[in-house]
């Protein structure tokens, strides 16, 4: 809104409110006004004027702010009666019900100040006409000094004939007709409410709740003119007006809620971390925007049209009436399809669209990274597997090749030595030493082959292979449990590698007197634990080979934990997934 216009409106509102308050005390009417009455009428005035300003500010293109403001001034006009002079007295009496016309207009134009149909316009016009015309008509025949007021009342400048009878009859007709007019307004409000969907529904729900006290109060007020309800005067005239503050209050509550909705959009997204699912994102946005009909539609790669999160096709070219499209700023094409009423909340839609774009982009990147991660994991597993296979092949080649040849050679030397026995002691001694060399070579080659890949692991599985490890361990080692069954080669190799490395570390660094190896089979995994009573303080990356071990376990999707408080021994645990 133009700052000058805003300043002028605020100044007017303050002036009018001050003026109304002043009128109570400079009125000249006998007696002072009831404080409760002063309070209620002022609250209603301030409520409409303030809400009008806020609505004008929020939606400068909508008429709702203007309607609230006009209703506020319409409410102010009858208060002129407080001034004990003929002109204000006459104006106040003639305009006593204009605000009721404004209220009808407000109700049918709720929530954006626009009338929807011809029926609306007819009813609003009739309501205005009736509430303006009937008091003027009645006033033409009303002499306040003789009817309903006292001799001290100011003069009614509109009076042309003093006819208490006509005044009374016109008042009665006016009252009787006000009931169907009010009923028509309410009926149309109910129709609007029933037709409302999506975002508008919430605002219409509020209106329904507000219409009940307002319509009820106005009816009572009108009936009170003809029926004698004087024993309820305090309730009707002093407390009752407060009910008229319901529409502005409802509007302000909705405005606050819309402001909060922007925060709700981001908090809805935050609560979805990590990895928003499109259906969840839609639900969160629908909740945050207050539009349960919201759709998040995207074009699936390769497909022609858009589909929503339930997989239903969405034809953007021929949307039903009352729907609106907000495109999202994402590399893949995606749009929000929502209730058209949300165009009145452009800021909210903008925030929601930005948040949705961000979430979708996030999800896309996450999916991309996940794919890459899966590929890297698979390739790491393949590399380790290929390495293992290569080691097995090397071991087999050594066994079937060099080792076998050396054995054959030993045998040949043995035969030769046998032949030389007794005949040539020098040759015998030479062959004996050759035989020793060959045997030493065999023994060395055997340990080398074993280090490359223990054949016993492939041959008999973990039980025998771990038994062989503890037999070779220089530290007293006990096996608490090892499953005797067989597992996939990768699982066995990894478990073996863990125990082997752990025992090597125990021997090298732990200064332990004893170690315990436990391997347990759990559903879907193998748990390997090696603990010792040594000095502790082992850390991955401290040259203990632990980081290599962690990499190795991770290559099959497992995890390695090391508990090694200084002085408290070392406990190494590996969990290896085992399909």
């Amino acid at each position: 809104m133009n700052p000058r216009l805003r300043a002028a409106l605020i100044a007017t509102a303050v002036a009018v409110t001050t003026f109304q308050l002043v009128t109570f005390y400079v009125s000249g009417w006998p007696g002072s006004p009831a404080p409760l009455y002063v309070f209620s009428t002022t609250v209603v005035l301030v409520a409409y004027l303030v809400t009008g300003l806020i609505a004008w500010q929020r939606h400068p293109d909508d008429q709702i702010g203007l309607l609230f403001t006009l209703t506020g001034y319409a409410w102010f006009l009858p208060q002129l009666i407080n001034l004990h002079y003929a002109v204000p007295f006459t104006i106040a009496n003639a305009t006593a019900f204009v605000y009721q016309g404004c209220l009808g207009h407000l109700g049918l134009a709720w929530p954006y100040g626009k009338l929807r149909s011809r029926a609306d316009r007819i009813v609003v016009a009739a309501n205005y006409a009736w509430n303006i015309a009937s008091p003027i008509a009645a006033n033409l025949f009303w002499n306040p000094r003789t009817t309903g007021c006292s001799a001290s009342c100011p003069a009614n400048l509109l009076m042309i004939v003093d006819s208490p009878r006509l005044y009374h009859d016109i008042g009665l007709i006016s009252t009787l007709l006000s009931v169907p007019v009010t009923a028509a307004v309410i009926a149309l409000i109910v129709v609007h409410w029933r037709r409302s969907r999506g975002y508008a529904r919430r605002a219409m729900n509020a209106l329904i709740w507000v219409s009940i006290p307002v319509a009820g109060y106005i009816t009572i007020l009108n009936v009170a003119d003809v029926a004698d309800l004087s024993q309820y005067n305090v309730l009707i005239y002093q407390v009752g007006p407060l009910l008229l503050a319901a529409p502005p209050v409802a509007y302000l509550v909705a405005a606050l809620r819309a402001r909060r909705a922007r925060g709700a959009v981001s908090s809805a997204l935050v609560s979805m971390e990590p990895g928003p699912h499109p259906a969840k994102l839609r639900d969160a946005l629908a909740r945050a925007l207050g539009d349960p009909t919201l759709q998040l539609a995207s074009r699936t790669p390769g497909a022609a049209g858009f589909t929503d999160t339930d997989g239903a096709a969405v034809d953007l070219a021929s949307l039903p009436a009352g729907r609106m499209i907000t495109p999202l700023d994402t590399p893949g094409e995606a749009v929000l399809v929502h209730d058209a009423e949300l165009r009145h909340e452009p800021e909210l839609i903008r925030v929601a669209a930005a948040a949705a774009s961000l979430a979708l982009e996030h999800a896309r990147l996450q999916a991309e990274i996940q794919v890459q991660l899966d590929q890297v994991r698979a390739s790491r597993a393949r590399i380790v597997e290929a390495g293992d296979a290569e080691r097995r092949r090397l071991e087999r080649d050594l066994h079937d090749g060099a080792q076998q040849r050396l054995v054959t050679l030993s045998l040949a030397i043995g035969i030769a030595r046998d032949r030389a026995a007794g005949a040539d002691p020098d040759l015998e001694a030479l062959l004996e030493s050759a035989s020793k060399e060959a045997r030493a070579a065999i023994a060395e080659l055997r340990e080398l082959a074993r280090g490359i890949h223990p054949a016993v692991l492939t041959q008999t599985g973990l039980e025998g292979a771990i038994q062989a490890l503890i037999e070779r361990s220089p530290v007293t080692t006990q096996v608490r449990a090892v499953p005797s069954g067989r597992f996939p080669a990768q699982v066995e190799a990894t478990a073996y590698f863990v125990v082997s490395e752990a025992l090597a570390n125990v021997a090298k660094h732990a200064q332990a007197s004893a170690a315990v190896v436990t391997v347990r089979e759990q559903p879907g995994r193998l748990e390997v634990e090696v603990r010792d009573d040594g000095v502790g303080g082992a850390r991955a990356g401290s040259g203990s080979g632990l980081s290599g071990l962690a990499d190795r376990v991770a290559s099959v999707g497992g995890s390695l934990t090391v508990h090694s408080p200084p002085g408290g021994g070392t406990r190494l645990e590996a969990v290896i997934p085992c399909p």
Binding site: L406, V407, L411, V456, A468, E471
Partner: protein, 242 residues
């Protein structure tokens, strides 16, 4: 035609127990060799023939070994632990199968692996007439043919390298610590499958002294003292693997 199962137990043949010494005038002892390396198989055949055995068949894999054993019914089978097609433990499995079908046939398994697991598996049944030696033992012809003879005679033969591994293994608070060095030597030989007689000869002591040591070992290790020569191999092995 292979004879299977229970009949073979009753069939006459080389049962556990002293077999006639080759070259002593009786019929030579029949041996079947299973070894996929042709050169080595040929060398073995020659060594055993020279030592007075009758090498009645050569097999290059486990299936051929079982077939030949059924046909020839040798007193001893010499089998490489790793043979085609999988190059894992076919020889061991074939040995166990032979022991099951023809319990009287002695089996000596040759291996490149120092693995107690294989030994335990092999000896799990009746340990009489069963042996496990490292292949490089063939370098010492006398020691090697002696092992074949001992298995044929119904003894249990376990490679000293494997026993050395078990005896040398560190143990905290084990009763093994309380054995004297002499007793440890006796224990190792017991585990190899040697009889008291053989131990006495090897360690240059009287059989009486060996008996005393054995009794003391059994007491210290809390083993059953009345285990026979063959059962005690299992008992000692089981203890050593604890």
């Amino acid at each position: 035609m292979p004879v299977t199962g229970p009949e073979s137990a009753a069939a006459p043949g080389p049962g556990p127990g002293p077999a006639p010494a080759p070259g002593s005038g009786a019929a030579p002892m029949r041996v079947v060799i299973a070894e996929d390396s042709v050169l080595l198989a040929e060398g073995l055949r020659r060594v055993l023939a020279d030592a007075g055995f009758e090498v009645a068949g050569l097999a290059a894999d486990a299936a051929a070994l079982l077939r030949l054993t059924g046909e020839i019914r040798p007193q001893v089978v010499l089998a490489d632990i790793r043979m085609p097609p999988t190059q894992t433990t076919e020889g061991l499995q074939a040995a166990l199968e032979i022991r099951r079908r023809w319990p009287g046939t002695a089996v000596l398994v040759m291996s490149q692996h120092v693995e107690t697991q294989h030994v335990v598996e092999l000896l799990a049944g009746d340990p009489r007439g069963v042996g496990y030696v490292l292949k490089e033992r063939v370098a010492d012809l006398a020691q090697f043919t002696d092992a074949v003879r001992r298995v044929a005679a119904g003894e249990s033969v376990i490679d000293p390298e494997i026993i050395a591994r078990l005896v040398a293994r560190p143990r905290a608070g084990s009763p093994l610590e309380s054995l004297t060095d002499r007793e440890k030597e006796v224990l190792a030989l017991m585990a190899e499958g040697r009889s008291n007689q053989a131990i006495a000869q090897q360690l240059w002591m009287s059989p009486k002294t060996v008996e005393t040591h054995v009794g003391s070992i059994f007491t210290k290790l809390d083993l059953l003292p009345d285990a026979g020569d063959h059962r005690r191999v299992l008992a000692v092995l089981a203890f050593l693997r604890q």
